[in-house]
């Protein structure tokens, strides 16, 4: 049962992956990518990591929806109605990725992988939770900080009017000049 599902999911994932760069419409590319990543979530689910699998699907769906918003905002031809090739250096990229694929698969088959050690715990979610909160606390802290930094940086970068513009030249205008009203304290 597991092998069949793995095969299925694998083939669908690859198909969607290829579809991402094959189709013209940006929306279709986005949702092909979503499909591929959902399959990845599925594979993870099947490989005995239910929590991570479902969380991956959860995150990917939200991400792709947001990406779709940006896709439409920035792409010249989001709907892919006017087919044009947005590619460059196709041959080079193909060559490199083929070479990488060949070397990786070669490595996969040549390297004698060690035998499995130990058996999966009963509750994998508990295992990862315990690890993150215990031995891997440093990773958790780092991830926390990275996420915080990303939030602040992304906001700052994306804001049209910058962080300080709203506070006027001398940074002291009391009700900051924000385009949209509302917000705390106003």
């Amino acid at each position: 049962m597991e092998a069949v599902s793995l095969w299925g999911l694998g083939v669908v994932a690859l198909a969607c992956a290829v579809a991402v760069f094959a189709c013209d419409s940006m929306a279709r590319a986005t949702f092909a990518l979503l499909g591929s990543l959902v399959c990845v979530g599925g594979v993870v689910f099947v490989l005995g990591l239910p929590y991570l699998g479902v969380v991956t699907v959860l995150m990917m769906v939200m991400e792709m929806v947001v990406m779709a918003v940006f896709m439409v905002a920035y792409m010249m031809n989001p709907a892919g109605l006017m087919p044009m090739s947005m590619l460059h250096n196709k041959r080079g990229a193909l060559g490199i990725s083929a070479a990488v694929f060949a070397s990786l698969t070669g490595a996969v088959f040549l390297v004698d992988w060690p035998q499995r050690r130990g058996s999966p715990p009963r509750d994998t979610t508990f295992q990862v939770g315990k690890a993150l909160m215990g031995g891997q606390m440093l990773t958790m802290v780092v991830l926390g900080f990275v996420l915080l930094a990303t939030m602040v940086a992304a906001t700052v970068l994306a804001l049209h009017r910058g962080r300080y513009d709203r506070l006027g030249d001398d940074l002291d205008r009391c009700p900051a000049r924000d385009p949209a009203g509302g917000g705390v304290g106003r």
Binding site: A13, L14, M67, F70, P121
Partner: protein, 101 residues
């Protein structure tokens, strides 16, 4: 045998993502390519965890990190693209080559 096959799947995803990243001009498309590559990594991590070291949680931590990385990459990518777009109405890497050496 499934272990190697899943790894091949991961390699495949990684390579397709790589091809996309290298060949696409649009920043968003490149980010999609990178997302696929990270997806490959997640698959590989799960595979390693499942087939080699289920006892330890390291494989899972790698997946968590990969997922966070994907989220961060996404956020920062679009922030930069927004800033770039707002500044110069350009969204392809070819036109944003000011940081040329």
């Amino acid at each position: 045998m499934t272990f190697e096959l899943v790894l091949v799947l991961a390699a495949g995803l990684f390579s397709v993502g790589l091809f996309g990243a290298l060949s696409q001009q649009s920043i968003v498309m490149i980010m999609m390519g990178i997302e696929l590559m990270i997806g490959g990594v997640i698959v590989a991590a799960a595979d390693f965890w499942h087939f080699l070291a289920p006892a330890a949680a390291d494989g899972q931590v790698v997946i968590v990190v990969a997922v966070v990385a994907m989220a961060v990459e996404m956020a920062m990518g679009f922030a930069v693209t927004t800033a770039l777009y707002r500044a110069r109405q350009v969204d392809t890497t070819d036109m944003a080559r000011e940081l040329k050496g």
